[in-house]
Symmetry: C2
Subunit: 312 residues, 2 copies
């Protein structure tokens, strides 16, 4: 059961609009007050109607709230914490949905007043779409939400926030913030950087036209383009704020890539075959853990509902 | 209209079983004779029933065929061409579905007798699944099939093969073999190598457990695991047989990756933001060209049909 009565959503993008939709699906009957820096986004969200009310400022949005969720790019969170601090209600919980945790804790926690709990969080959910119209109630279903509570935070407050995420469909776990940042460098940050790089390379190549890259993308490349279509501001902030772990995993990645490159150059087919066999098992684990569909090609054939072609 | 009366499928995996299913969907009423090296695969295909007949050997399968499609890993194709050469019918067309073209032409064409056309081909279609049970009739719908005909091949023979692929649902284009190999290095071979590498890194990391990698994969990594679950033998042969283009594109990739790595290290947010903005457009091009779905996350939410969780 959700114990909060007034949820403030700071930032009105994919994650916060999905939180609002999932709250309504869960039968939440409290207030959802949202705000965003840009007037256009606030107007769009107001028209979409997933909030009870749209506030003009962050400070107005958090006034009276017992749960404040910061849903902006990571780089903006410190400034927002400073701005809202005087308006936070005693006993309120402040959380966030940022993809890095150590730097957010450094930036946000100094501003949090006594009597307010700051419990950093990260729902591992998203799509390549962004903005207030991109949210949907199912986004968090069966996905993990990681909480990285600070030492000394009361268990009851952590449990209250965990129950909230469960009501939205998530599974919940807690983790040390720096371990979180390392794990996410592996499962998210470096994969995104690599995808951005590969798409950039394809787009730049003078000897391959853009229409060739586009038309022949189904051979693998199009999966990278989905990831590389993610929000640029969000991802800039992720890399600037998870520098150490990203660079560490990138180092491991290039080391392995060079070993495979060498195997190609020297014609070492056994090395390649062994490596490619090994990686197949992890896919099975992800499907067994309910984190992806076993349908071929992510079930695109279902999703796209391509009209069958007439035989010629 | 399909002009062939007897199609031989050498190799019985994802591509050849999909060809058979798509032929039947197109109303093809000729013979489909398939064979595979392994007796177990031949038995499985016989039980699945998508061929008119399963032959014991490649030579037996091509006897009387007017279209022979070599659907094995690239490395096996030269030996198969030598084996079938004496049994090929005058006027027959031999083609293949391999992901590289120059090396296949070198390996296969010396064996092709006078009066038989060898027209190399490559349907840009596949999934991460393999084997005779993984095929389905829709695999080629709206996907490109690239033909790389040799100089001197009669236009009528090329058109006959193009019409065949169109009847299976494909779009058809012709291309120079070495340009094909460069384009595919960009749109397929290097993306696969990178995905294999990233999954290998994740699997190897002592400081991140396998269950963490699996559970938290939805943040981006799971897209890589799908690609890295592709058939190891097929991909070993691709890299060994498209060495030059793969190494060239890999060189470009690491150059770009190092530039982004440097931007992260030096905190150059503008460089990152510009790069990430630029790559977003290409995704739109792919969707507009009908090569992917615009549904968020490839429409996984449709495909997986996750049961809605009860609110707690």
């Amino acid at each position: 059961m959700i114990e909060y009565k007034h949820v403030a959503l700071l930032g009105l993008g994919l994650i916060s609009s999905s939180i609002a939709h999932a709250l309504r699906r869960a039968g939440f009957d409290g207030k959802i007050v949202g705000t965003a820096r840009s007037a256009a986004t606030r107007q769009q969200a107001a028209a979409l109607g997933f909030c009870t009310r749209i506030a003009e400022t962050n400070r107005e949005a958090v006034t009276g709230a017992d749960l404040v969720i910061i849903c902006t790019p990571v780089g903006a969170m410190g400034g927002i914490a400073a701005e809202i601090a005087p308006a936070l209600s005693p006993g309120a919980t402040v959380t966030d949905v940022g993809s890095v945790k150590c730097r957010i804790i450094e930036a946000v926690s100094p501003h949090i007043p006594d009597g307010v709990d700051f419990i950093p969080g990260h729902p591992l959910a998203g799509t390549e779409h962004s903005g207030p119209a991109s949210g949907f109630a199912e986004l968090f279903d069966n996905r993990w939400c990681l909480l990285t509570p600070l030492e000394g935070t009361e268990t009851a407050a952590i449990e209250r926030l965990g129950t909230f995420w469960q009501a939205l469909g998530s599974r919940v776990d807690t983790m040390d913030p720096s371990h979180h940042d390392l794990v996410l460098a592996v499962t998210s940050h470096v994969p995104h950087l690599i995808a951005y790089t590969m798409v950039g390379v394809a787009d730049d190549l003078q000897r391959v036209t853009e229409s060739e890259v586009v038309n022949y993308s189904a051979a693998g490349f199009r999966d990278f383009t989905r990831i590389a279509a993610s929000d640029p501001t969000m991802w800039r902030d992720v890399f600037l704020n998870n520098k150490e772990a990203t660079l560490e995993i990138l180092g491991r990645f290039t080391e392995e890539l060079f070993a495979l490159q060498r195997a190609i150059r020297t014609g070492d087919g056994d090395h390649l075959h062994d490596y490619f066999t090994h990686t197949r098992a992890i896919r099975r684990g992800i499907i067994d853990a309910g984190q992806d569909t076993a349908a071929p090609d992510f079930g695109r054939f279902v999703a796209a509902k391509l009209p069958p072609k007439e035989p010629s």
